[in-house]
């Protein structure tokens, strides 16, 4: 249909959209949209504290939630994400919807006792999720 300057679908002049809330629902973000969730663990819970001396607590975090249709705008997702969503919605529901996954990480410093009794301080990349995206 022809579009008005502000991009909304043009209607016959003077007739309000039948149901405004329905109309705007398509732009709402899902209630449980994709976002970063807290998760803290201590290595003593895993009984690994005998050889992982530090840190005592470790918060790897995780991503969870539904991906909105306008993922590009919100999460900087590539166009492919929208394409995959359209495939899921209109062509083949067996194709999975875009998933909520980590987009950025931060490192972690670990102090461990090695099997030979030596002690190692090491810094590992990508051990804590800091940002989520839809892919």
């Amino acid at each position: 249909p022809r579009r008005r300057r502000d991009g909304s679908p043009s209607q016959a002049p003077g007739t309000p959209p039948s149901n405004l809330s329905e109309y705007f629902k398509q732009f709402l973000f899902p209630q449980n949209e994709c976002e970063l969730h807290n998760f803290r663990l201590s290595f003593s819970q895993l009984k690994w504290d005998k050889w992982i001396i530090a840190p005592h607590r470790y918060s790897p975090q995780y991503c969870k939630g539904d991906c909105p249709r306008a993922a590009g705008h919100r999460y900087g997702s590539p166009v492919h994400t929208m394409v995959q969503n359209i495939i899921y919605e209109k062509l083949d529901p067996s194709v999975p919807r875009p998933a909520c996954v980590p987009a950025e990480y931060s490192p972690l410093s670990v102090l461990t006792v090695e099997p030979d009794g030596s002690i190692a301080y090491k810094e590992y990349e990508d051990m804590i999720a800091t940002k989520c995206t839809c892919r």
Partner: protein, 292 residues
């Protein structure tokens, strides 16, 4: 596994590394292909799933670390990382790995603790099997700890004459030449009563050649006082009876290790991506920036 059992074959109980991490008490036996993949796991996860899978108890604890060494490394950890384990940005050097080795126990008796007067002779064997091929040496230090009798923040002057060579467990004469060095060192003994003797250039040839067993022998004389201030040094200091540890500062070049320069580059790219406002210097600072 059930199918294997049904067909009468020995059911090779295997799990992808990820599952193994989930079922921590399942002994981890992987078919060949998966074993290769397993070998690609980041060292920390490999150790996690190894240790976790066999369970600490069943594997029996490894050798216990030396308590003084443990205290030193905990102090080092607090200097380099926050309580949550985030590396502190203040760290300027490029090493992302620090390994502390105490002389191997079976040869401690060989640590001739002869103190003739104020000369202290050492004969130590360090096993460096834990250093990986991707860990490049940046600095190595002999770490002496002084017993409590030494008042904190004393100044100590040590004269050392050391030699190092590769030690072949089979007792063969090792082809690698021995390296010897004589140096004097003046240090302020901090409240942890530690003195670091930099032996980087001295050990570099052996460690760069990935020698696994390094023997360090020689004489160390430490006196309390600072030769720059008083002509005669006070009474000779009996260096701690504890054999020194070997501290290696390494740059782990593997993908899983954290590379500061890399993260700085990531950050700069992210700034540039989010547009000129976020990176004023980039936009205004260079002509091509303005063109862009």
């Amino acid at each position: 596994a059930r199918a294997h059992a049904a067909s009468g074959k020995t059911s090779a109980l295997w799990a992808a590394p990820g599952d193994a991490a989930g079922e921590l008490n399942v002994p981890l036996r992987l078919p060949r292909g998966a074993r290769r993949r397993y070998a690609l796991l980041p060292p920390l996860l490999k150790v996690l799933s190894d240790r976790g899978a066999q369970g600490w108890e069943s594997q029996g604890p490894g050798l216990q670390p030396d308590s003084r060494a443990l205290r030193y490394m905990k102090r080092l950890y607090k200097m380099y990382a926050t309580k949550e384990g985030i590396p502190k940005a203040t760290k300027s050097h490029l090493y992302n790995t620090v390994r502390l080795f105490t002389p191997c126990s079976e040869c401690k008796h060989r640590h001739r603790d002869l103190v003739r007067g104020d000369v202290h002779s050492v004969d130590l064997l360090f096993n460096l099997d834990r250093v990986t091929a991707l860990e490049h040496l940046l600095k190595s230090v002999l770490l002496y700890s002084f017993d409590a009798s030494l008042p904190p923040s004393s100044s100590v002057t040590c004269m050392c004459h050391l030699s190092a060579k590769e030690h072949d467990p089979a007792g063969q004469v090792c082809p690698s030449a021995s390296h010897s060095v004589a140096f004097s060192l003046h240090a302020e003994v901090g409240k942890g009563r530690w003195v670091e003797m930099d032996v980087t250039s001295f050990l570099q040839p052996l460690i760069a050649a990935h020698r696994r067993n390094i023997r360090v022998a020689g004489n160390v004389t430490c006196l309390v006082g600072d030769p720059r201030e008083s002509t005669h040094l006070e009474n000779p200091l009996r260096v701690a009876l504890v054999p020194p540890s070997l501290l290696l500062y390494l740059n782990d070049t593997s993908e899983q290790a954290y590379h500061r320069w890399n993260s700085l580059r990531h950050r700069r790219k992210a700034l540039q991506r989010s547009g000129p406002l976020a990176d004023p210097l980039g936009a205004r600072g260079s002509s091509q920036g303005q063109r862009a």
